[in-house]
């Protein structure tokens, strides 16, 4: 860790101004990822502007949905009554991620800004275009069994690690940001994270100095049929091999609205629009779910060690949609775990 300055922000405009003026300054939320990256010598911010005491931690009803504060903790968000009732998919996804201790510290804005867990990115002695553009991608021909199968480029095959963001992608969330000079804008979630392309060093479309103040969740009729499924190597506290946020609205025996987003497959939460398109208006049968999943994954391009992810993702999509149809429950993220509810 290199020496850095630390300040506790009390006023958003002043904090944004200071960070905007210094390209090496960073906002600090819970620090559960950024501080690790500093200890690993991957990131070297000149100063940290701690925003956790700004008044952006409110979770409240808005005209057409719910607003969750950027500095509200993941734990508070997941367990908030309004979230549990209206957006159980988000609640399930958050609770499938990290550990209770980390969720207590981590903020919603910080969750969206976390970096990939690709170990080539974390090892400062390895090539990594995301950490050090131009050095190459260590994982492309290296150990890549946990890496992307969709949307990757020769420059980067990393995946985006958040569970929360997979649900937000499915829920059509909108990210509210504030920049210097009191400029405010909103970013539709699909446009927030980006694919690596030629510039894997850029994770998302936030401009330097812009602060996430809240995340808006538009109203929907998906709450009753939502399910977050996470497949991982152990029962808890592991990043997803594959995760699926699935939600449905049916009309009689027809699918009226369907949302499918995948985690663990790409540089951003992957909205499975081909599968959604395929399903809309059809019956919610296992056969249709399978056909939709394979239509989506037809475009998958596995790497040397992750061919297994393609089949796994297809099965996970089917299982998640089935779970949603059965009215996903809290604890559903443990669906891959046989250690609950028995013995």
């Amino acid at each position: 860790m290199r020496p850095f300055k630390y300040a506790n922000a009390s006023n958003p405009a002043a904090a944004i101004k200071i960070v905007t003026a210094d390209p090496a300054a960073r906002f600090l939320g819970g620090g559960t990822n950024l501080v690790d990256l500093m200890k690993e010598d991957v990131m070297h911010p000149s100063q940290l502007m701690d925003v956790t005491r700004l008044k952006f931690s409110v979770i409240e009803k808005k005209a057409n949905g719910l607003s969750i504060g950027g500095t509200a903790s993941n734990a508070v968000t997941a367990n908030h009554d309004l979230v549990r009732e209206n957006y159980p998919l988000l609640s399930m996804a958050i609770l499938a991620g990290a550990s209770a201790q980390i969720r207590n510290m981590a903020t919603n804005a910080g969750n969206l800004n976390q970096r990939t867990r690709c170990t080539y990115f974390y090892d400062a002695n390895m090539p990594c275009n995301k950490r050090e553009p131009g050095t190459g991608c260590g994982a492309l021909h290296g150990v890549n069994k946990n890496h992307a199968i969709l949307g990757w480029s020769e420059k980067c095959v990393a995946t985006y690690p958040s569970d929360m963001a997979v649900a937000l992608a499915a829920l059509n969330a909108v990210v509210q940001v504030e920049g210097s000079g009191n400029t405010k804008r909103n970013i539709p979630f699909a446009d927030f994270h980006r694919l690596p392309g030629e510039h894997p060093e850029i994770d998302n479309t936030l401009k330097h100095g812009e602060l996430i103040t809240s995340i808006d969740l538009p109203e929907n009729r998906l709450a009753e049929k939502s399910y977050y499924l996470k497949v991982r190597e152990r029962s808890s506290y592991a990043f997803a091999l594959i995760s699926v946020a699935a939600a449905l609205e049916t009309n009689g025996n027809r699918i009226k609205d369907v949302r499918i987003a995948l985690g663990g497959v790409a540089h951003k939460p992957w909205r499975a629009r081909i599968a959604e398109q395929w399903l809309r208006g059809k019956e919610p049968t296992q056969a249709n779910f399978r056909a939709a999943a394979s239509a989506e994954l037809k475009h998958a391009k596995p790497l040397g060690q992750n061919k297994y992810k393609v089949g796994l993702a297809a099965k996970a999509i089917v299982r998640a949609l089935e779970g949603a149809m059965q009215g996903g429950t809290y604890g559903a993220m443990e669906a891959d775990s046989t250690t609950t509810n028995q013995n």
């Binding site: 974390y122 090892d123 021909h141 190597e233 029962s235 297994y308 099965k315 046989t338 250690t339 028995q342």
Partner: protein, 762 residues
Amino acid sequence: MSETGKPISRVDGRMKVSGKATYAAEFNQPNMAYAFPVRATIAKGKIASMDDDIIRKELGVIAVISYKNAYKLKPLDMQAQMKAGAAFLGENLPPLQDNVVHYPGQFVAVVVAETYEQARAAAYKLKVRYTADKAAVDLRTELPKSTKPKMFMGEEAQVNEGKAAGPLAASAKKVDHTYSTPVEHHHPMEPHATVAVWEGTDRLTLYDATQGVGLTSAIAAYFFGLHQENVRVVAPFVGGGFGSKGLWLHTLLVAIAAKAANRPVKLALTRQMMQTNVGHRAATIQRVAMGTDAAGQLNVLRHHTDTYNNLTQFFEPSGKQTLVLYKAPLREVTYNVAHLDRSTPTFMRAPGETPGTFALECAMDEMAYQLKMDPVEFRIKNHTAQDPVKGHDFSSEFLVECYRTGAERFGWASRSMEPRQKRQGKYLVGYGMATATYPGGRSAASVKVLMNNKGNVTVMTASIDIGTGTYTVLAQTAADALGVPVEKIDVKIGDSSLPPAPLAGGSQTTASIHPAALDACVLLRKELVSIAIADPGSKLNGSKPEDIGFANGKLFVKGNEDRSETYLNILNRAKRNEIEACATTLPVSGAGLTVPSALCTPSQTPPEQNSDIKQYAFHSFGAQFAEVWVDEDFGTIRVKRVTSVQDVGRIMNEKTARSQIIGGVIFGIGAALMEATEYDKRWGNPVTRTLADYHVPVHLDVPPIDVHFIGKPDPHISPIGARGIGEIGITGVSAAIANAVFNATGKRLRDLPLTPEKFFES
């Protein structure tokens, strides 16, 4: 009632959970500086240059030490090191003595600064340039160049090479398969750390997270050319070791740093360094073949291991159990060992048996299926009551009882031999089992016992509690041997200035130090008796020593318990503030089993003089049963319950013993399902760098574990009757799980760990 065996809680438990137990990194010293190592970024080659002068100007930096300016340690000399008890170095590479790089992550420099953060920041900035050579980084690529070592730890390494082929060909039934296991890391909870304090140039104190204070003291003394009594190593509490806390280079590195800085210096390793600088269990590729007659009697066992080493002679001895288990007229056990430019492999919990029982016990299951015989019955049919190679009886052996009791407790009878017969919702359910075994080790040890005139007893030995319960069980043994409550006993261990004891490795601490503790207590009582019977003021005056009994802090005349006297009265009247006794045990048999010595200095008995090793084979045994649930869509495998029945001799404390077995089983679940360190095949560096990448079981992965002990004392290992228990719990677990996966799904997975992608690739 006897204290020994009682399931009492750890006597040091309260200190541990309240933060009062002091671990190595917490021994802060006045004027202490901090060291942070710099590690090599190539696998093989030479350091061409480094910008150490620039780094010396960084904020807070006190010293930058590399091969250019490091203190010159005594060179490696195996003969001299053996003589000094300093041979057992984690890797034979005294740090910073030259510019040669042998593996990625090797220490190439160390920065000393006023604060940890300054040392780390400066170390990260230090630019080192290398001339790299082509490195050997992949086992399969290097195997053609492997060699066949003749010896392993004093035993023949290659047994009956080439002799199995004939009997295999002649066998009515046979299996022949290849099993592989990955690199695993120990990752004890407490990272390695050392605080080094020099007094002048000839006295060194090391507060060190070590499994052996005596070992660390001897090695440090050798390399710095000091008298061993001038190198004091202190480790009252150690947060786990599992074989990784022998002496590794950081302990010498921090002593070099403290010498250069002329200040006390602390060095604590990071998790990332624990992946490269404190050993690992090497990967193995094992080919196991066996043949039986038509009735399922084994004719032959063959177990070949391909593995690698670097910088020591150690290699993973995964054929060990195949020399001990099952009655078969012929067994062939061989090794090919390649060289890799990878950090140095070492002992890790049940070295050999952990990967070895995976291969052998899966092959046994495959053989049982071929014979259409129940796997438990197949093992019982081929059980041996003698060491099948040496022909000696086992000192004490109840393996068949382990199988039977385990099968009963587990409900094995409800298992269907045919795979894929049992479902729970979307899961396939399977049962599997395997044999567990580990040698019963024993070494020389000395223990001193002191009783003062306040009735307090202190038990002293340079042993270690690495989380196993040494403090607790020693107090129990002394309490029984003196007839005083456990609360009156203070155990002092973890200090090389105490009477010598073996390192806490090889599951031998209890078997080694308890006979000495018992003898020291006997000697102490004898002295109390002789004071009392000689004292005209004592009710015991004039009695014969053999007529005196003891209980509840008193001596009494047997059959006439009114004639009794407390230890305190005896001491007070004799005007003695305290009395002490020391005993040394040597691992020899019969009457010579313990040799009392006032000098408190054990000398290791050469094996050829160790009469009972010629007569008995010392081994522990057990049976592991596992139920798994498999989600075939995802390839996820969860262990639902485990039954572990263990024959480990006498149980010293039912609670701490059970914890040891539970810990071993959890380790086995990790090995079976998730633990693996992966290396990049181009550069040779570990890609699995932290506990976020190196998965160990979380609470939710740990099912109910039913532990049962046979509990029959071993009459030959010592008068105490306890064999070790630290390692056997892990053995056989991964095989029991893999066999259960076959029973559930019909899929044979022979490459650990059984992560989801393996399920789809098989």
